[in-house]
Symmetry: C2
Subunit: 408 residues, 2 copies
């Protein structure tokens, strides 16, 4: 079994709003490098933005400093396709430059995903990462909807593999993947393809530890975990018990507990240092299981409704979300589509008339700004948003028309 340690990226991004600074990381690097992780996720996601915006830190400098200390473990980042580590589509040459610089500065593995699983958003990033001789991991955004079947995921994995990815990640950002679904999906991928399968989930609603167990039973090659001080809550499952269980039963060598002891104490102090930013969850958030939305999206909506003194209408909003998701062609609820769907669902409930107000983001989404949805967008909604004349441009000219409407 191979472990990716997410402590320095998803761990603190999920639990302390990405506030861990380079100086908090440096004293731990020698020890982390000794644990025997397959890889460490240390860059990308929100770390780029938060380093500059809040920590007054150069993210490139952080990467170089980490690389200097980490001799034995691969380093990896999370890249949002053509969005890179930002929130809009960038020009192709920007994408190429970014990927090249990321690899030059020490990254071995680039995990690339698109919120809509539109592989066209990944083409440039994958191509450049391959040219830079990085290991390219293609990530599947996991979600639950009538169109997100095993066949759908297999088909998307096939597209990624055709683009040349070296491994596949099932990226379950909402933590909604069940043990049985994980077992079936991993089994199907392993049967069909010969490249390594990585599973990435979050503990938010309590499924992930059992889901990892089922995924390993099905032959998953790599799982993402965090050191326990930055695990659980909305983060990944903790590394220590999974490794312990495998080593106790002879499937892995014994852990160096002195090294772990040092790391646990170090990161426990780091977590305490950022208590002001801490999600401070002592248990799971079970409501997400019936809301079927990611934890971050859920708490955003609670906040949004409270500000409007509409907290009591949460249930209606939760019922509206799958309808909006359906109207928009079942986008997985991950940044940025989670916000797009969530805000529109709140608006639909608040106004009392669905789509009587439509956000700028939904308009852009319908115009194809974010890529191709997994299923067609509701034609009535397209008509409502674009107006009859534009619909004719959209329908008659297809992609060309779409591009024109986006740019106009």
């Amino acid at each position: 079994m191979n472990f990716v340690d997410t402590t320095l990226r998803d761990g603190h991004q999920s639990l302390i709003a990405t506030r861990m600074s380079t100086e908090d990381m440096l004293p731990a690097l020698d020890a982390i490098d000794k644990v025997g992780f397959y890889s460490m996720e240390v860059w990308g996601g929100a770390t780029f933005d938060v380093a500059v915006r809040f920590l007054n830190e150069d993210p490139w400098e952080r990467l170089r400093k980490i690389r200097e200390k980490i001799k034995n473990t691969k380093l990896q980042m999370l890249l949002r396709g053509q969005n890179l580590v930002g929130y809009r589509h960038y020009a192709d040459d920007t994408v190429r430059l970014f990927v090249r610089k990321a690899v030059e500065n020490g990254l071995d593995i680039i995990r690339i995903f698109d919120a809509l699983n539109d592989e066209r958003n990944l083409l440039i990033a994958i191509d450049e990462a391959k040219k830079s001789n990085a290991h390219v991991q293609g990530a599947i955004s996991y979600t639950i909807s009538p169109v997100h079947t095993i066949e759908y995921y297999l088909e998307y994995a096939r597209k990624l593999i055709e683009l040349g990815v070296d491994s596949i990640c099932i990226k379950d950002m909402a933590g909604l993947l069940t043990p049985k679904d994980a077992y079936n999906l991993v089994s199907a991928l392993k049967k069909q393809f010969s490249i390594p399968i990585n599973v990435h989930s979050h503990c938010t609603c309590g499924l992930a530890p059992a889901t990892y167990q089922a995924a390993m039973d099905a032959g998953a090659d790599i799982i993402d975990t965090a050191l326990s001080p930055f695990a659980l809550g909305t983060s990944q499952p903790p590394f220590e018990p999974i490794y312990y269980a495998l080593s106790k039963n002879g499937d892995l060598p014994a852990l160096d507990w002195d090294t772990l002891d040092f790391l646990i104490d170090h990161f426990t102090r780091v977590r305490q240092k950022y208590a002001a930013f801490d999600v401070k969850m002592t248990t799971i958030d079970p409501k997400i299981l019936y809301a079927q939305v990611p934890g971050g999206m859920y708490s955003n909506m609670v906040k949004q409704l409270q500000e409007q003194k509409m907290a009591h209408r949460m249930k209606e909003v939760l019922e509206e979300i799958p309808r909006v998701q359906k109207d928009l062609g079942y986008p997985p609820l991950v940044t940025p589509t989670s916000q797009i769907v969530g805000v529109q669902a709140v608006l639909n409930v608040m106004t009392g008339e669905r789509y009587s107000k439509v956000t700028k983001e939904v308009k852009e989404y319908v115009k194809g700004f974010y890529g191709r949805p997994p299923a067609p967008i509701d034609p009535e909604l397209v008509k409502k948003i674009l107006g009859d004349e534009d619909v004719l441009i959209y329908v008659i000219l297809g992609e060309i028309g779409k591009k024109y409407l986006q740019k106009r």
Copy 2:
């Protein structure tokens, strides 16, 4: 799959020092009864003591009030064999009266265990529970030691079944049962015996959710969970995600989320009410994985060492514990043996000479006061504690000699 809800016993015992009062429970009972639990653990363990000692409550009255409201769900308690819900051995007629009264007041299932897995400590309680027509569950105290093999557990289960228990519980109080060991143990028990197998674990060191998954794969019939506000930390795995996963995949009917929503909100408020007593764990306690001791024992020892200004010697104490455990014939580390072993290990380290000071409890243990250990006690230790003359009485007269020494 059958679920035992532990919220009203082990859940709050593990997370808020057993402080939940009857008035905190009553408003939730109608809803809990609707969820569809196989059973609710609501009595026994520390609840009897804490109700009287700290809450000024009649524990019998609590049981009657719960029974009055719970019409569809079985009610169960945890009974520490001849120790009942106290901390010493009681006379047989006390045990019989207690069990009879417990059933009379509304309990359906009595889960009976002995810390040493000495079935002689269970005879009277099992006999009386059967006479009272209760469902008797025999619990195996799970621990890790060279003598605690699958064969050992199968043999103990056989003894319990010969005594007439209706089901078997694997009681993993330290949360050290790994998925693979659970799979193997449950499979072996299911293969050998035809009565239901229940698994009870704690999340303290992060194994339990995956362990439940493996136990279910192996055919476990019943698992113990708590509602999420009283789950995780040092408590049981949360109910909601496990049920959700099974129902999503069609193995169970859908949950009534309105009822769950009410219960989650109610118990979230109750947990906040007792914040002063809360363990407030946001993640697992991974050190227990290498210390191999239960969480409660671990924190007691930390406190004990801190008071003696010896916190820096924790590592030596942790290394001494398995040696003391071996000397004492590998008792499982559960109340009261966890304290007995822990305090003696601290003494051995503090004094610098092993067993130069021996606690009263170790002396009583060696004299057989607590029952028969899983393996023989180290003869040197017996000699040291009893003195040569008493050793002769002990060795030559066996059980008779032991009884005499205990009573003298």
